[in-house]
């Protein structure tokens, strides 16, 4: 049964007509950015995941690996960015095994855009694809409907406006790797502080030509939680228990097989 199933679609539609609204999926409110520099490219993301106005995950990973040297930052519906990225990542590896060549960033971008276009925007993945390959460093952005953009710097997600404000004012043509990393983390921080959908930490990934990509998980942690000054531990026995049962999780099965009889058993036709 490969692919997506639509079994529940009619039932859910019926529930909708009966006045039951549809539940919200986790969305990565998100600020994501990417920026090229002399000899490579860097992408960055915040780490907040929201469902409605609840922060579902305070330290989620929005930087996904498509190939060892091609990474991708995702905004939009969290499950979609994760799944589309895993699917294309797999296909990209099969593709590069088939050709016996390192995968190219344009290939990843084309596979993603054609997949997303096929679903006409129903797969809500907004991606910044970046990486290095034998043709150099590349940076693209992809929208859920399947359109792509090329550029020296990109930003996407609900915090993209705050991030773009930083990129537009600070970006210049001859950035060094360190300057690009600073620029990207500054842009994400602008999202963290000024966009309600973004928050927590900064993740960052640097891809240099001819080198393995380096992931800086929690590159910046400007929102560390204050340590509790007092323990809220309850005394043992506070909670009233009606019944208690204990099960063992370990089942020991022992079977002794001598080498001699095992060797004889293997011989099928003498």
């Amino acid at each position: 049964m490969p692919g997506l199933a639509f079994d529940n679609y009619q039932r859910n539609n019926y529930l909708t007509t009966k006045g039951y609204g549809s539940p919200t999926a986790t969305s990565t409110g998100t600020t994501i950015v990417g920026c090229k520099f002399n000899g490579g490219v860097v992408i960055a993301a915040d780490t907040r995941a929201t469902s409605g106005d609840i922060v579902a995950d305070k330290n989620c990973e929005k930087l996904h690996r498509l190939a060892p040297q091609i990474w991708c930052a995702g905004a939009g519906t969290a499950a979609d960015t994760e799944m589309v990225t895993q699917l294309i990542g797999s296909n990209l590896e099969l593709h590069s095994l088939h050709l016996n060549r390192k995968p190219r960033v344009v290939t990843a971008m084309t596979m993603l855009k054609q997949h997303l276009y096929k679903y006409q925007g129903h797969i809500g993945a907004y991606l910044i694809v970046a990486g290095t390959d034998p043709t150099g460093a590349h940076l693209f952005s992809i929208h859920a409907h399947g359109s792509t953009d090329v550029g020296q710097y990109q930003s996407l997600g609900s915090g993209s406006l705050a991030a773009m404000a930083v990129l537009e004012s600070e970006w210049n043509e001859k950035l060094t790797k360190e300057e690009a990393m600073k620029l990207c983390s500054d842009a994400i921080e602008a999202g963290i502080w000024n966009d309600l959908g973004s928050g927590s930490n900064v993740d960052l990934c640097v891809m240099e030509v001819g080198q393995d990509a380096v992931l800086y998980r929690n590159y910046l942690t400007p929102n560390v939680r204050e340590a509790k000054t007092r323990s809220y531990k309850f005394g043992r026995g506070t909670t009233a228990v009606l019944r208690e049962s204990i099960y063992s999780l370990v089942e020991v099965q022992e079977e002794i097989v001598s080498f001699k009889s095992a060797a004889e058993a293997i011989e099928v036709d003498a």
Binding site: Y117, H143, H145, G146, S147, D149
Partner: protein
């Protein structure tokens, strides 16, 4: 097939739009394509340096307007078909052939597409440029010059009055630069830089004009 009153002007929710001012003009030595560089999602400028001029074959290019996703997908398909065409026929496709492929796709999928395209190419045999527009419904119109996109409405009069047959390259560039400059000026969905592609016997030449270049005059 009776109820074909479909609103094909609507965009899917949250779709990236090429608000756009685009044109292609034939002249003495070939043809020139021109476009602004703005793409929008709602009122936000998603890209201010977009390249809406896309190469379809060696000497055939197109200007894209409408949905960014749709026009990119269609252009990629046509590019693919023309590659097959050349391999099968052992000769490059004509501009007319390219436009026909665009038309075929845009017409058969008209209910699902928001794509207005101008195809322009230079024919080595005749030494002439050719412009064919394929607007929203999927019809096909051969023209001496074509304008399209939301910004084009502001320059119909100017272009009609000032276009001349067999202009020089410099005259044509001046004409297009001023036309697109006016379209950008009056249309909120168009803006950024003006990009051009000059298709002649010498091959292709890309030009870019920044606001300070096209705003004066």
């Amino acid at each position: 097939m009776n109820n074909i009153s479909v609103d094909i002007n609507h965009l899917k929710k949250g779709e990236v739009n090429l608000g756009t001012s685009i044109m292609a003009v034939t002249f003495k030595d070939g043809v020139i394509l021109g476009a602004d560089s703005r793409t929008t999602t709602g009122s936000y400028i998603a890209n201010r340096v977009t390249d809406k001029l896309t190469q379809i074959h060696d000497t055939i290019w197109c200007c894209r307007s409408g949905s960014a996703a749709d026009t990119q997908a269609v252009a990629d398909m046509v590019k693919h078909y023309l590659e097959l065409y050349e391999a099968q026929h052992q000769q490059p496709p004509s501009t007319h052939t390219a436009a026909s492929v665009f038309q075929e796709i845009c017409y058969t999928n008209k209910d699902n597409l928001t794509a207005g395209i101008i195809v322009a190419g230079y024919d080595k045999k005749t030494g002439k440029g050719e412009v064919i527009s394929v607007p929203l419904g999927g019809s096909m119109h051969k023209q001496e010059y074509a304008i399209a996109g939301s910004g084009s409405t502001f320059i119909y009069g100017y272009c009609d009055e000032n276009y001349k047959k067999d202009m020089t390259q410099e005259e044509t560039i001046q004409f297009m630069r001023y036309s697109l400059g006016q379209a950008i000026k009056w249309d909120g969905s168009s803006g950024g830089v003006i990009r051009m592609a000059v298709l002649t016997a010498r091959g292709v030449e890309r030009l870019i004009f920044y606001p300070e270049d096209y705003q004066k005059q």
